[in-house]
Amino acid sequence: METIKINIDNKNVEVPKGSTILQAARMNGIHIPTLCYLNLDDMNIENKPGGCRVCVVEVEGRKNLAPACATECLEGMVIKTHTTRILNARRTVVELILSDHPADCLVCAKSGNCELQTLAQDLGIRQITYKGAQSTYRMDTSPSIVRDVDKCIMCRRCEMMCNTVQTVGALSAINRGFEAVVAPAFEQDLIKSSCTYCGQCVAVCPTGALTEVDHTPQLIRDLADPTKTVVVQTAPAVRVALGEEFGMKPGTIVTGKMAAALREIGFDYVFDTDFAADLTIMEEGTELLDRLTRYLNGDKEVKLPILTSCCPAWVNFFEYYFPDMRDVPSTARSPQQMFGAIAKNYFAKKIGVDRKDLVVVSVMPCLAKKYECGRDEFKENGDPDVNYSISTRELAHLIKQSNIDFNKLPDADFDNPLGESTGASVIFGTTGGVIEAAARTAYELFTGKKLEKIDFECLRGLENIRQATVDFNGTPINIGIAHGLGSARKLLECIKKGECNLHAIEIMACPGGCIAGGGQPLHHGDASIIKARHTAIYEEDKNKPIRKSHENPYITKLYEEFLGKPCGELSHHLLHTHYFDKSKVEICIE
């Protein structure tokens, strides 16, 4: 690697050619504060508008200060990062941001986890010299996301996520100057926009401008209601991230502690979405095999590739942007909804509770799940299969409110029958996991042979779009994987043009998959956190005694006792769904 020599804070150092001042500084133990800058390097996500001007430094020979995030180091450059001139400028800039920011930190959803707050603290700001008008906007509460635009600091991270990474385009910078802010078209509510509720905007927002809708007050009321039986399900990705909220190292697996905490909080039954993930494999896998067999037998009508459908933001995405292709994805409901349907229609009866008195709560790494459980097609006479969904972050708050010392909790198990799961279901939590789980089951069902090597290494990784061919005993099955909606769009466009010879594709809306969902503990731009969760997911899989969905004994039992067979009539009714065309905009024309 070619290097260049620079001098930074009186130290002569050598840095790779092409490094920015910020990168060079970090490599050499100098922490220049940033605010708008965001870089999840391995995932091709970068926000570098150079707009906040917090990272300014002095470069010898330059008239004004330079933004460290955007300025490339040149041979012989002499850089200072903390002169009085810089400190005054940096402090003034932060004071300016604060002067147009509500000072309600104590009651802000982001308090203690806000990058602006941290910055103000680090700089020791005790007063705001430049006071003046503040911009005010109305609050916008959608089913998943709350927008408190007063707190927007125009870092543009959300806009970048929504447009560049996700290609959803629900958010854009609007107006200009002091009035400039990020908002949906016509400053309408998010619910009227094409937002998929993927929550990636929330995941990167440095302040309290974008947060999740908080369902914990409702949950606390329901837990206290003696007429209700409250059931909880936890998604795979939650268990590898929740620990971070309690100071644990990223990637710590806290499945047992989480189950114990949920029981202490007062849930009547602590179940696992992983169980439903196994069920999803049975249904989706059967559908895949069916389409595949028909295709191999020469059926020209069959829609291939089949696309996974367990990610609700992804479902929203194709309903908005590819409605004409809505017969391509699998009709299988997501694990959350499969769980809800089974809980309300099978488990409720089993324990003799009316479905209306059974409250099904999910803990999800995801914000789109909040929207998903409110969909009409997932309700029976107005009663939703899943009553509401809380995020990993909300669960952490709930645990803290319940006076639980999480770190000292002994491990506990899930309840049965909806708590038993396999390694295959655990890996649903990361990109590539669903399709690997499906492959494990489909292989055995298709070939009738036992899988010799359970791990499909070729399907793993963090590359945005991946392809691999899996050998089903002589039949090559081409598999595609995309995570991030922008990558999904690319694959879909290939399919549309007929340039794609894949048989099955897994799509997850969030880059990295659920482990990096909008409801997870905030990564604050540190990609190593996401990678640690990714590793942990596969570790959890490895530790499971059963690692193939169709071998889950409670799943077998469920089919015997209740459902009959995969993709049977009852399954069709309870575990499958249909999709809508949401692309239409109403315009009156005469």
Partner: protein
């Protein structure tokens, strides 16, 4: 072809059109036809003469008679007296404000004497809608010379040697800019002409496009050849309908003549030009913002590097110059770099066009050699301060510039001197102010503009300028403190130091330069709660001089809030707690008894 004995040039610039110059042309033609003189006298719609203060202007050639403030009704007398009888219409001649003498030949007017027209060479001389007139004035000769007799590098060297610097604001050496774009690798490159003139009070680019569009087409094509581009784009303000119209005509004519398009002049080089419309955003004058706007985005600047020369329009190497810069190119090629470099000052070569406006007798568009002093511009060309008032300041560089004062009057105007004096060249707005202008209010005016035009991308400009404006507003309302003045200074300094683009980095200049040059006035506002120019209303007190008041009651009857009391034939008094400072009483008083204190 008829041999015309007279050419009558009528200014068809936007300013004169607003005063119905089209009506003048129509009537002139009618009057000529009535006398069967249409084959003897040609009426031409020309570009701007520059002397907008006196518009509409009608110039009769060959005797160079310069008629000012002409109305359509004057057409008959001009034809009858001047053309038929050979007698000048004295009443329409320009009157020298000092000598009160009529001057008929523009060459003898103070306004024109000190001027040297290079960029404006053809403005007000040819019919901009007729390519033949342009060609007869050497249009496209430089292009031919470059395409057929020079290599791209030798043409670039010629521009470099001329010392031409960007006329849009920063003053970056044009030849160097071209060289960077030419050395930048890539088959697809672009030439962009920045015609999004946005300075409030500057209109030279518009005048050039309206008066001599072919010079821009020619220069852009030359630039295309030099850097290796085949497409040119003119980013032009949608609010300039006339300039757009004339440019379109010129483009069509150039294409028809084969001076634009494939294989120009048999050189094998192809080039064409498209228009892109600005939509009202000052920041789009900044080249990266302009490029984003052309791509259909919000016109937000991005950090440089990469410079447009490396990655510009559609991420391809792009060279952006403004209109006035391009207008200098053909003449440099035709007359040579040495000739151009012989004009101007040591580091600023050639001429600069200024839009002279404000409290000055001769408002208009002028072009002077670099190095001309402010005094020459204001007093000799501008004819001094309007109404014989006292000169106070001149603002150059628009919202990015600063206010210069008496002590700068003998400073030769060039890029570096203006920056050293705390202002800048900018695009060439020059607004003259007199004793009735409050410098705090002027600073506020510019900040209001910047706040309005800030794109909102970076914190210092988005929030900082808003706060600067608020502090200035507070001061003009009489609520300022000395601490505010300190804050004003610090904040201005930080904005200059940290803003993302040129607009933001220069936006505090009006504040800093007025603080530097008119500190006393700021302190007066803050400490004495006094505005010496009588502009800041909330600090004004209308007082009736009992010596002068005769008690006519007229003021009391006209006061909208009944703040004035007094018996008939006795001196009246204004109740300051009620007075809203509307000034109605002062306007009505016949005895000059009401003063502002």
């Amino acid at each position: 072809m008829a041999t015309y004995k007279y050419h009558i040039l009528v200014c068809g610039g936007t300013g004169c059109q607003a005063s119905d110059s089209a009506g003048i042309i129509e009537n002139l033609k009618k009057e000529l036809e009535a006398r069967n003189l249409q084959n003897d006298v040609q009426v031409i719609t020309s570009g701007c003469f520059g002397f907008c203060e006196k518009g509409p202007i009608v110039k009769i050639m060959p005797d160079n008679t310069f008629y000012v403030r002409v109305t359509p009704e004057d057409a008959a007398i001009i034809i009858e007296e001047h053309i038929v009888k050979g007698r000048k219409v004295e009443r329409l001649l320009y009157t020298d404000p000092e000598t009160q003498q009529h001057i008929s030949d523009s060459k003898h007017m103070g306004f024109y004497q000190k001027q040297l027209r290079i960029a404006l060479n053809n403005c007000g001389f040819i019919d901009p809608e007729n390519i033949d007139e342009a060609i007869s004035r050497d249009a496209y000769l430089a292009l031919g010379k470059v395409l057929l007799e020079m290599t791209p590098q030798s043409a670039i060297d010629e521009i470099k040697k001329s010392g031409l610097r960007g006329r849009g604001g920063g003053g970056f050496p044009t030849g160097l800019k071209w060289e960077l774009a030419s050395k930048s690798p890539g088959d697809e490159k672009y030439v962009v002409c920045n015609a999004d003139e946005g300075d409030p009070g500057a209109f030279m680019d518009r005048s050039i496009l309206e008066g001599d569009p072919h010079s821009i087409i020619e220069a852009m094509t030359i630039c295309g050849y030099c850097i290796g581009a085949h497409v040119g784009l003119v980013y032009i303000r949608a609010e300039y309908p006339l300039a757009i119209h004339r440019l379109k005509i010129a483009l069509d004519q150039a294409r028809e003549y084969g001076l634009l398009g494939d294989d120009i002049l048999g050189s094998g080089f192809s080039f064409d030009i498209e228009l892109r419309y600005g939509a009202g955003a000052f920041v789009c004058g900044e080249e990266t913002a302009l490029i984003h706007s052309m791509e259909g985005h919000r016109g937000e600047p991005t950090f440089k590097p990469p410079f447009p020369a490396v990655s510009g329009y559609l991420e391809k190497p792009t060279n952006v110059n403004n209109v006035e810069t391009f207008a200098c190119i053909p003449i440099i090629i035709n007359k040579g770099a040495e000739w151009f470099a012989s004009i101007g000052s040591e580091k600023s070569k050639g001429t600069k066009v200024f839009a002279l406006a404000g409290k000055i007798n001769n408002v208009g568009l002028i072009e002077v050699p670099m190095g001309t002093t402010l005094r020459e511009v204001i007093y000799e060309i501008g004819g001094g301060i309007k109404g014989g008032k006292e000169f106070k300041a001149v603002q150059t560089g628009g919202p990015s510039g600063g206010c210069l004062t008496q002590k700068h009057l003998d400073t030769p105007i060039d890029y570096d001197n203006l920056i050293a004096a705390g202002s800048m060249m900018g695009s060439g707005g020059m607004i003259v102010m007199d004793e009735d202008d409050c410098m705090v209010s002027i600073a506020k005016f510019y900040l209001e503009f910047t706040v309005e035009e800030s794109c909102g991308k970076c914190t210092p400009c988005r929030v900082g300028n808003k706060r600067l404006h608020e502090i200035l507003d507070k001061i003009t309302k009489g609520e300022g403190t000395m601490e505010d003045l300190d804050n004003l200074k610090n904040l201005s300094k930080v904005i200059k130091d940290t803003a993302l683009c040129g607009l933001g980095q220069t936006s505090p200049n009006p504040v800093l330069s007025t603080i530097d040059n008119f500190w006393d006035e700021y302190v007066e506002h803050v400490v004495d709660k006094k505005c010496r120019a009588g502009v800041c209303r909330s600090m004004m007190r209308y007082v009736i001089d009992p010596e002068k008041c005769v008690g006519c009651t007229l003021c009391a009857r006209n006061c909208p809030v009944n703040a004035i009391t007094g018996e008939r034939k006795e001196a009246h008094v204004i109740d300051q707690s009620i007075c809203i400072k509307c000034g109605a009483c002062k306007d009505k008083c016949k005895f000059n008894a009401i003063e502002i204190k």
